[in-house]
Amino acid sequence: MADDHEHQTVPSDIALRVKALESVLVEKEMVDRAELDAVVDTYENRIGPRNGARVVARAWTDPVYKARLLANATEAIAELGYGGAQGEHMVVVENAPKVHNLVVCTLCSCYPWPTLGLPPVWYKSAGYRSRAVIDPRGVLREFGLEPPDDVEIRVWDSTAEIRYLVLPERPADTEHLTEAELAELVTRDSMIGVATVASPRTGDAA
């Protein structure tokens, strides 16, 4: 019939499954549609790696804050206004000339949402999850990072309870930068540990 074309495209099977879940749970008043929208808005628009970058920049410029951050990350991060789901038990691990930290979740995709937002696709891949522990140097090489042999690579496996954030090394030639300018240099990948923070002058990683 000609008017078949007037009707709507049926969504994919997976989209229909989600619609079924949502409508049944809303109907039973187990979830509220406005609350669901607010969650999506928060994660799409309000949180992301800029939050973590501010934490890192503060730690670089304020040694007292940095000491608090390494001693009790959850509280120190909350001082900057970041906390909540998947950030309740934070641990910050500090990179140093002879230590490079790498974060993974081998079981699924645990990740510090309040400071980094939602994880990138590669973080959730089976390849990254399985190889980060077995062959961290191989994984880092794929990200273009080759720490010298005398640098210890520490791999931190996240759990449903504990989430890790890497405090990268402050790059050279940044003494003149403000905290806000420093935050601009800090990338998501450097806080997962698959990158370092590049110096603004040379572009070379620290």
Partner: protein, 100 residues
């Protein structure tokens, strides 16, 4: 961040249900890890692109295990939505014509 709207909806459902105490986040992580492991055991290539498919499967599993709904209800509701799309004229909002 979310490739398609259903991914955002599924994400929000898990976060909200857990926030309201219907399951702990530890239970959630266990369910999701179970789906990921099962997919690997089936030999599915997992480059992360099907992550939210596994997320939805974990959500369905926990929702039924916790008695929030059951599989036949969800299956029936899914069919009702498909039907509603097929019978709603283009440009009109799709609503379920449930007779209850």
């Amino acid at each position: 961040m979310f490739a398609e709207p259903w991914q955002a909806q599924a994400f929000a459902l898990a976060v909200t249900l857990s926030g309201q105490g219907h399951f702990t986040w530890k239970e959630w992580a266990g369910a999701l890890a179970g789906e990921l492991t099962a997919a690997e055991a089936r030999g599915e290539s997992d480059d992360g692109s099907r992550y939210y498919h596994h997320w939805v499967a974990a959500l369905e599993r926990l929702v039924t295990e916790k008695g929030l709904s059951d599989a036949p209800v969800l299956e029936e509701r899914k069919a009702a939505w498909a039907d509603a799309y097929r019978h709603t004229p283009h440009g009109k909002p799709v609503v379920l014509g449930r007779p209850d």
